[in-house]
């Protein structure tokens, strides 16, 4: 089964000093063969985070590495954004936020239940095509 990757796993994998580096690395290795993908919105979130916290040089390092990774980029087209907004309405109290709602919408559209993320809030989401999301961590 394909897996979608969230910002938290990208950052933990990219920084060897992170507490969860080994878990992120293992998850990417374990699921890599089945195909990894991420919405462009999550990539933008990751890049913004790295730029804001670590600076533009580190952002460029990750940018190059991501382009070499072969991880599929999922377009955030109008349909995906509508689906994401519907999720945001249904889970308004949890305030997943824009990027995470697009990640969940990508799960729905691709019927992908496996999400590589350390964000435990995502466990509250109930997909329409599976009993629950399978989250890393």
């Amino acid at each position: 089964m394909r897996a979608l990757v969230d910002s938290s796993v990208f950052i933990a994998a990219a920084r060897a000093t992170e507490t969860h580096h080994a878990r992120a690395r293992a998850a990417l290795d374990e699921h890599g063969a089945d195909g990894l993908a991420t919405p462009v919105t999550i990539l933008a979130e990751t890049m913004s985070f790295i730029g804001a916290r670590l600076g533009v040089d580190q952002q460029r390092r990750f940018w190059d590495a991501f382009m070499e990774s072969g991880i599929e980029i999922i377009d955030a087209d109008a349909e995906l954004l509508r689906m994401a907004r519907d999720i945001d309405r249904r889970y308004e109290d949890l305030a997943f936020g824009f990027a995470d709602c697009t990640l969940l919408a990508a799960c729905e559209r691709g019927r992908v239940a496996r999400v590589l993320s350390f964000d435990t809030r995502l466990a509250a989401y109930r997909p329409t095509f599976a009993p629950a999301l399978e989250l890393l961590g």
Binding site: V9, A14, E18, L28, F49, A52
Partner: protein
């Protein structure tokens, strides 16, 4: 599964020459393709692992994405200050 004529001919020829069924040839080919993809993907994902070499001492940045972005882009944050 539909196969174009040239691939079907290739499959039939392989099957005849090796004395195994076309289904067996197809299984072998898919297995080899999968191994190739695994090798490609693993090598690709490896590009990300440990790629950031910053000197920030924090060890839980992966768990603070939302908070960090909110601070950076929020009122009085570094973005507003042009940082």
């Amino acid at each position: 599964m539909y196969l174009p004529d040239d691939l079907h001919r290739f499959l039939a020829r392989e099957s005849a020459e090796r004395g195994i069924s076309m289904a067996e040839v197809a299984r072998e080919a898919i297995g080899e393709y999968r191994a190739h993809r695994e090798e490609q993907t693993h090598r690709g994902v490896a590009a990300i692992l440990g790629v950031l070499n910053d000197d920030d001492e924090a060890t839980d940045l992966a768990l603070t994405v939302d908070e960090t972005l909110a601070e950076y882009y929020g009122e009085g944050g570094a973005f507003e200050a042009g940082g």
